[in-house]
């Protein structure tokens, strides 16, 4: 099963993911540590090395940029990508000076001063004061310390061109706060323009720290999304466009394959040929499966759990060359299929 990897942002730790972790139920999840490196590619490489298997990446702010870099480096391992309060824009004019000033402040005046200078602008300005939350966030910033702060700011200043690298095709969830002036909604719309499959959720009454400003709303969305990703990932194949007959597909397709297995006998074939509807009605197929069989839609039958070794028996009652079944699944004309997949005869 895929593991959810929560990647925190600048001078953040598991505090920002507490509510989301609590909502994950049976979905395995862990908080990433990006405190040891001073470049986003190094952070991404480090996490890919430390965390095995299929990953569902959930990144906040700087953590979102690390997640995007991981997806660029190892898209085959990324089962899903959730990006919160983040962006893909390169370093902006004036950004370098401001960030260096913060690094200096962290060392010269301490992280409490950094927290006091930095945190208020990150929050929803319209919300009533929340001293308990500010205290917890300030403690976290102090806990992370000036070295982590400096390393992570340097990583932001040398960040790769995230937009150019973002070609992820898998499930994506984008989330930001309605009142996030640091990473506004428009930045997430820019990401969705590159990845149209992404779903964009706006969290009301939240700023840049949406995961702690509206913990319940964020946690609920993340948990629902992650559970769906995990389920689909089990059903999906690890190798693109290659459906393996595993438990989920077996459950989906059992009745369809049983219907096809019935064509192994002369009686079954005669019944099918004399009254296809009545024959199909014996097997509790879904309406979609029935329609796919009647249309001889091979790609759809496989998508609905048909295994070719079984559904192939349909070609005994309704002769269809195996190569035509292949071409139909590949979505290619027969000539293109033969040219591009099977190629020229080679012998000897």
């Amino acid at each position: 099963m895929a593991t959810v990897l929560f990647i925190p942002g600048l001078v953040c730790d598991g505090l920002v993911w507490q509510a989301a972790q609590a909502a994950m139920g049976d979905v395995p999840n862990v908080v990433a540590d990006i405190s040891a490196h001073d470049s986003i590619p190094d952070m991404a490489r480090d996490l890919l090395a430390k965390h095995d298997g299929r990953l569902i990446l959930v990144g906040h702010s700087l953590g979102g940029r690390v997640a995007m870099e991981m997806a660029r480096m190892a898209h085959g391992r990324v089962a899903g990508l959730a990006l919160l309060n983040t962006g893909i824009h390169p370093v902006r004019a004036g950004e370098e000076g401001k960030r260096h000033a913060m690094i200096t402040m962290g060392y010269a005046r301490g992280m409490a001063e950094v927290a006091a200078a930095w945190l208020p602008g990150m929050m929803n300005a319209d919300a009533p004061p929340n001293p308990a939350l500010m205290k917890a966030l300030t403690d976290m910033v102090i806990r992370m310390g000036p070295d982590v702060h400096a390393r992570q700011l340097r990583a932001l200043l040398t960040r790769p061109d995230a937009g150019a690298g973002l070609a992820y095709k898998g499930p994506m969830l984008l989330m930001t706060g309605r009142q996030d002036t640091w990473s506004p909604i428009a930045q997430h719309e820019d990401i969705r323009a590159l990845c149209p499959q992404a779903r964009l959720e706006i969290i009301e009454s939240a700023g840049h720290f949406a995961p702690v400003e509206q913990p319940d709303a964020v946690a609920r969305l993340l948990a629902e999304w992650a559970l769906g990703v995990v389920r689909d990932d089990i059903a999906l194949v690890r190798i693109p466009d290659t459906p393996l007959y595993d438990r989920p597909r077996g459950t989906l397709g059992y009745a369809l394959n049983k219907m096809a297995m019935g064509l192994s006998t002369p009686q079954g074939r005669a019944d099918f040929l004399s009254n296809e509807d009545a024959y199909l009605a014996r097997f509790n197929l879904t309406p979609q499966q029935t329609a796919a069989v009647k249309a001889r839609d091979w790609a759809e039958m496989v998508r609905l759990g048909g295994n070719l070794f079984y559904i192939l028996k349909l070609s005994a009652v309704d002769p269809t060359p195996i190569r035509a079944i292949g071409a139909a699944q590949a979505g290619l004309s027969m000539d293109t299929f033969l040219d591009t997949r099977l190629g020229k005869v080679t012998n000897g």
Partner: protein, 279 residues
């Protein structure tokens, strides 16, 4: 004691059977494929083996998905061709080497391979086609058979490493069998092909040729590959090649490749054969 005289790896593509049934053996399309088997056929005929152990997968014919044996072993006296949807093919029944099959069952279980043991079994193209490719279409098959069926359809399928170990166990069974019968082992399936999904029609002739060249002298790479590697390199149904590892694992570390052949595509499959003897 019985003697292992050869290991043979071969495809078992159903279109080969259809080509034979339609009398296409000598056509321009098919003759180069079938002719490539002639040296191996001649060699095997001259050796006069007594028993052929055939490792193959059932293709949704003898077993439905209601119960899927990871490993099944035939101990019957007779195996008829099964109806795969077009009626049983006009292939003679196969006579079973029941005594050796029961000895193999004992050896397997002693060594912790626990197969489904089949007293009645009809066999599909997975066994028919390799037998026809090696022994032609006689009135009576010149060898008795022992079918070993491996699940390669429903996941989890067994690992390549387990298949190799099964080959070691098969060898131990042959060498502890108190007759002077001569045994050939046929590992079947593959080579590269994929029948399902949008990647249907995938074949990989370069990797197929490497397989044909290396399965005898350099099998280590194929022992080390995962099931996912097999699917990636050889396609989802190309993962059937793990069954060749039973044959190769049965052989000595050092073997001579006596004959080899490759042809692509046979229908939607890279098809090929190797004939190995212990060096």
């Amino acid at each position: 004691m019985a003697k292992l005289i050869a290991g043979i790896g071969t495809s078992h593509v159903p279109s080969i059977a259809a080509a034979l049934d339609k009398g296409l053996r000598h056509t321009d399309e098919w003759a180069p494929f079938f002719n490539g088997y002639i040296p191996a056929q001649d060699w095997v005929a001259a050796q006069k083996p007594d028993i052929a152990v055939v490792i193959f997968n059932d293709h949704g014919n003898a077993f439905f998905l209601d119960r899927v044996p990871t490993l099944a072993l035939g101990v019957a006296d007779n195996y008829a061709p099964i109806d795969e949807g077009w009626g049983p093919r006009p292939v003679p029944d196969f006579l079973g080497a029941a005594d050796f099959a029961w000895h193999l069952a004992d050896t397997m279980v002693e060594r912790h391979f626990d197969p489904l043991i089949c007293r009645e079994l009809e066999v599909d193209h997975g066994m028919q086609v390799p037998m026809e490719l090696i022994f032609g279409r006689p009135q009576v098959w010149p060898v008795k058979v022992v079918p070993i069926l491996v699940n390669t359809i429903q996941y989890p399928i067994p690992t390549p490493q387990r298949m190799w170990d099964l080959g070691r166990t098969l060898r131990a069974a042959i060498e502890s069998y108190p007759t002077d019968e001569k045994v050939v082992v046929l590992g079947t399936g593959g080579l590269s092909h994929q029948l399902q999904g949008a990647r249907a029609g995938y074949i990989n002739p370069d990797e197929d040729r490497k397989w044909i060249a290396d399965i005898g002298p350099n099998p280590q790479r194929y022992r080390d590959m995962t099931r996912e590697d097999y699917i990636q390199v050889f396609g989802s149904e190309g993962a059937e090649l793990i069954m060749w590892l039973v044959m190769r694992g049965c052989m000595d570390e050092r073997v001579n490749t006596l004959s080899r052949h490759y042809f692509a595509p046979a229908s939607m499959t890279g098809a090929g054969m190797v004939l190995l003897e212990n060096a």
